[in-house]
Amino acid sequence: MIRRLACSLAASALLTLPAVVSAAETSAVNEKFRWLTFVVFGAIIALTMFVTYLAAKRVKSASEFYAAGRSVSGIQNGWAIAGDYLSAASFLGIAGLISLYGYDGFMYSVGWLVAYITVLLVIAEPCRNIGKYTLGDILAFRNDPKSAKTVAALSTITVSIFYLTAQMVGGGVLVKTLIGIDYEVSVVAVGVLMLAYVLFGGMVATTYVQIIKAVLLVTASILLVIFTWAPYGFSLPGFLQAAVDSANVQGQVTKLIGDAAKNMTPQELGQRFLEPGLFLKNPIDQISLGMALVLGTAGMPHILMRFFTVPTAKDARVSVIWAMGIIGGFYVLTLFLGLGSAINVGQTEITRIDKGGNMAGPLLAQFLGGGPDSMLGNLFLAFVAAVAFATIVAVVAGLVLASASAMSHDIWVGVVRGEHATQEEEVRAARISSIIVGIAAIIIGILAKGQNVAHLVALAFAVAASSNLPCVLLTLYWRKCNTGGIVAGMIIGSLSAIALVMVSPNMTYPTIVKANSEKAIKAADEKLVALSADLAAATDPAAKAKVETAIAAQEKAKKTALDNVVKLGDATTSLVGLDKPLIELKNPGLISIPLGFLAVILGSLLYRDKRADDLWDELYVRQNTGIHAEGAVAH
């Protein structure tokens, strides 16, 4: 039955896609070649559905559903971690940041790799040794199981929902921008596909989908980099010099630094692109984000869960090392993708379709294949678009599996049933939880349409770094840590991170937006007056056309500003009733992470818990040696 359902779901996902393509206003794919995109999409979806079909036959026990029977090899798991971790934000977003802001974009990517040092050194192996399926299992080892599992599950669901929302909304927008499918349809397509993987194939299918996605992503990036770099004889200074010499790059720097550009030579302008300070202006914010990344990755439930899929702690080590190689290598490649796109496509074209620069990579692919009107160019673009789609689905599947496991394994089996549930009951509970989370993800994705959700990714990392990580780290390494500390740390860490974001500049402040919009409208009006004078004075058609384009641009800017004011309606204060942000910090990590650690420490010292103390020796010996660790399932 399951197999038939999986097939029909796949078929319906395939059929609905082309039927609802809306008129392409600004999508990246040339309408003439849209069928090509669907062929590539179809091929990738068919492949992932095939592995799900194979996986569905295998998944019968809880260990298979949550942890792929612990039979994933270290290398496979390394690829799967990369597939779980490299979201569309890193694939398209960072290449975009580099194409628009040069050095700062590259610097931004570093933290995402460094984060894995924490995972490798102090988290992966101990967690594999003492854990079973979830974050809750790790924390329940020596703390009161019901309390620990409850707070761990709540935190897992919170972190996953934040991340999930960002992925669903980002994915919907992305697919719409790339190929012009309606936003709602692409959200539903992502949701249905992901649900099919998780529901039928559990962790087995999710692992394979993540591996397939990582292999596709890395292959696509390597090919693009080879094509981009080859004209410069694979010379690093030669390639960077081309960026410095590029008129696109020089123009972009002029736009970014304004008046300061007046006294600079074109070479100096180009070189400025390779220097810091064009995007990341506040170092404190960056350090705050850096802390959230470096400590948050190790507390991400969907990443932690991956370590339970390998047979031993040593395999967990191997998998993190592979993941670091793949993830780091990928970020080095994005330097070439971003700069290559800046040189060949140009920032004007990149931002025409998407202001954030997300189209830098896809448009570079189109250029390398021969441009927007060529078959090969569109095939390249279709491939990159399909990889982006696979990227979103794979990350979302990992997140849904993590939160569904928290619901079924921690809450239902652990807390409600007091650990008394048969394998069948547990797997059924896990599947029902997956459906609940999957449907919730689709609904949230549709409701959050048009919302600015980019900061939710950073918030997810900040919450994980402020609550999950202090709890895991201290329960593993600090004898005095106990239930009181875990409960206090989870609650104070996550609530403080969320509360700080609510009063931060990330929220929308109507008064500020209105003031800015009015300023923008006034500026546009002044420019329009000047431009209409120019238009009257212009004689030759070329000059006239140029002025007309400038007028159109100003009118568009004015309309955007007006729309912004209209969108706000009568609102005068932010969601929590503020006129302006209370703190300047965009990422709460700098404050909430120390608070989280402090809460665990104080909570532990103020609370007496004999069990936590009695079990310390057992935990410490087991996390170091792997004695009595959960073993692999034989096939």
């Binding site: 960077l240 410095v244 390779l274 080095v332």
Partner: protein
């Protein structure tokens, strides 16, 4: 599958385990602190030592770019150093403790 009962307190106090604990703690936390400090030097350097970051070293390649690239090399280097030490030394020590575990302190 029934698991052999162990005397965890005795294993924890066993000199072999204590040695593993000492060696691992010093090594891991040392690497951890070094990597965090090295990572935060990048945003701090970019913000407060801009003139240094701008110095051109090789064609258009400046100190800042080299420093950012070195972050990758250092991360991979730490992974390599850790893996080498863990594979050669920690794994062997762990294996020895695991073999002896059931008999340490007389199983309860």
């Amino acid at each position: 599958m029934a698991k052999t009962p162990m005397n965890w307190v005795a294993i924890d106090q066993d000199p072999r385990f204590q040695e593993l604990h000492r060696k691992k703690s010093a090594f891991l936390w040392g690497l951890m602190i070094f990597s965090v400090v090295y990572y935060f030097l990048l945003p701090i350097g970019a913000a407060y030592f801009t003139d240094l970051f701008k110095i051109k070293v090789w064609g258009p390649i400046n100190v800042g770019l080299l420093f950012a690239l070195s972050e990758f090399i250092v991360a991979w280097g730490i992974a390599w150093i850790y893996a080498r030490r863990a594979n050669s030394e920690f794994d062997a020590m762990t294996l020895e403790i695991n073999r002896a575990a059931a008999s340490i302190g007389g199983a309860k």
